[in-house]
């Protein structure tokens, strides 16, 4: 049995800090269950992960993380509206077939969501495309275009535009480098220098009401 990790990957640690004690958490694309294992142990959450990778599912079961074999693109409708406190999706948005629909579903299932994804607007990507005319391959985007699971890459600006269009409120944004560290340059010009962003999302306040 693998215990919960004592040190959490930096982005997951940043997310974990946002999760209240005892919350009900759904993790879309939970991987080997690092985040949920940590949250179970340190935050006493009631958490479930969705995953389709066989080995990762077994890893979750092995460490006592609730894991459900289910495709995010197909099977979120079975989760009741407001049945969770928080839905998390780390570095999975770019791999789903219908990102906009998944975001809508996240914010239907829970009032709050956390989404992280790699930035296709990073200056290396831009330079790569501009100078070589080829699809970028970088540290945080290591796949060739023809065999990448990342079928819906976007920039931070693209994502924020989508949120505005779908009526999703961005409650916080943390932009980090490829090693999940923030710095001043990134904070200033995040869509150019940020590698990964962690977004907190909520439903837009109903018209005529303030929150």
């Amino acid at each position: 049995m693998n215990p919960a990790p004592t040190t959490l990957r930096e982005d997951l640690r940043l997310i974990a800090e946002l999760v209240p004690e005892g919350a009900r958490v759904l993790d879309l694309g939970c991987g080997t269950g690092d985040l949920l294992a940590w949250l179970q142990q340190h935050r006493q959450v009631n958490g479930y992960g969705l995953e389709i990778d066989h080995d990762k599912i077994t890893a979750c079961i092995d460490r006592g993380v609730n894991v459900i074999e289910r495709n995010i693109d197909e099977d979120l409708s079975e989760f009741d509206t407001d049945s969770f406190d928080l839905v998390v999706m780390t570095e999975t948005l770019q791999a789903v077939r219908q990102p906009a629909r998944v975001l809508d579903e996240m914010l239907r299932i829970a009032p709050e969501g956390i989404v992280t994804f790699p930035n296709f607007g990073h200056w290396r990507c831009r330079l790569h495309l501009a100078t070589r005319g080829r699809m970028p391959v970088a540290n945080h985007l290591p796949h060739s275009w023809y065999d990448t699971p990342n079928i819906h890459l976007c920039t931070f600006a693209d994502f924020e535009a989508l949120c505005a269009e779908r009526g999703l409120r961005i409650t916080r944004r943390l932009v980090v480098d490829a090693n999940y560290r923030p710095n001043n340059v990134i904070n200033r010009w995040s869509n150019l220098f940020g590698s990964i962003a962690i977004y907190g999302l909520a439903r837009a306040a109903a018209p005529g009401r303030s929150s």
């Binding site: 009631n46 599912i57 077994t58 079961i61 460490r63 459900i68 074999e69 289910r70």
Partner: protein
Amino acid sequence: MTALPSDSVGIVVPQHVAFDSPLSLTCGAVLDRHELVYETYGTLNAERSNAVLVCHALSGHHHAAGYHHESDRKPGWWETCIGPGKPMDTNRFFIVSLNNLGGCHGSTGPGSVNPETGQVFGPDFPAITVRDWVRSQVMLADHLGIEQWAAVVGGSLGGMQALQWSIDFPERVRHVVAIACAPRLSAQNIAFNEIARQAIYSDPCFHGGRYAEHGVAPTQGLMLARMVGHVTYQSDDGLREKFGREVASGDLEFARDVQFQVESYLHYQGRSFSQRFDANTYLLMTRALDYFDPAQEYGDDLAAAFARSQASYLLVSFTTDWRFSSERSRELVDALVRARRNVSHADIDAPYGHDAFLLPIARYMDVFGAYMDRVGSEASA
């Protein structure tokens, strides 16, 4: 010297227990006394925290693992999963496997003598439900001094018993493993069971279930019933892979007396089953399967049925199982999530239909093993 495989529990001896306290059944009848036959594998630890109950499916019995004699050709029915180093590891767990009430392998059933009449029960044996089985299994747990099962495990109808345990006796089950299971049967599923029952009823030797008094048995009907069942427990691809259109005998070119391989296979399966199984028990068990519906008394709200449960759950389904499809396991998952129970679900890609739960499929063994490993760590913590 024994030639038995080293990953087998080896020679096992069935045990009997008689309960003299009355058992009230769902149908209203009361059994004043009943007997169960069971086997155990592994050793109960001092804390009595490592006991696992194995519940059998429609045609199962107490002999789940090991061999009765050194010359036995076949081991118990779940040998793939029970034994040293296997998912239900006998080095860690004390495993109990019984023949259910109403069975025909040594537990009190339609073939037993009714103490009130001195005659064999036959069709007069009361209807039994999954809930009744669980109650009688509770008496067995008490007899063995097991306050709480580390896990209750079963496939198909066995999985239904495991679920029922967690609903009716929440404080006595830590984990439920329900494999190729469903929260209740679909109309199609009940329909297949009814065809099987009609096959038995229509056998001239059935005599309204009193065939024992006539010194005969409805083997032809039972054989037909099993053939129908057997086909539905397999997948189209599985049968194609195993038999294709291979001919066993006859002349295909002249379309004369042809028997396809799949036919002779079915005949063999049906015939051998009809020789070792009792028709009244088959009727009773298919009825229990049809009646199972734990959500019914909770206004058809399955999540409400699990509200009092304290167990954690592992559900396993198989992609080509069309009698207990993956979708049915997903229904269970959704209800358990709503009920805030711990639950994991793996959907195993295998071409063997419902019967896959008896087979050593690599990913299935990994998932099952990983889960039981965790159950075992808790039991010894």
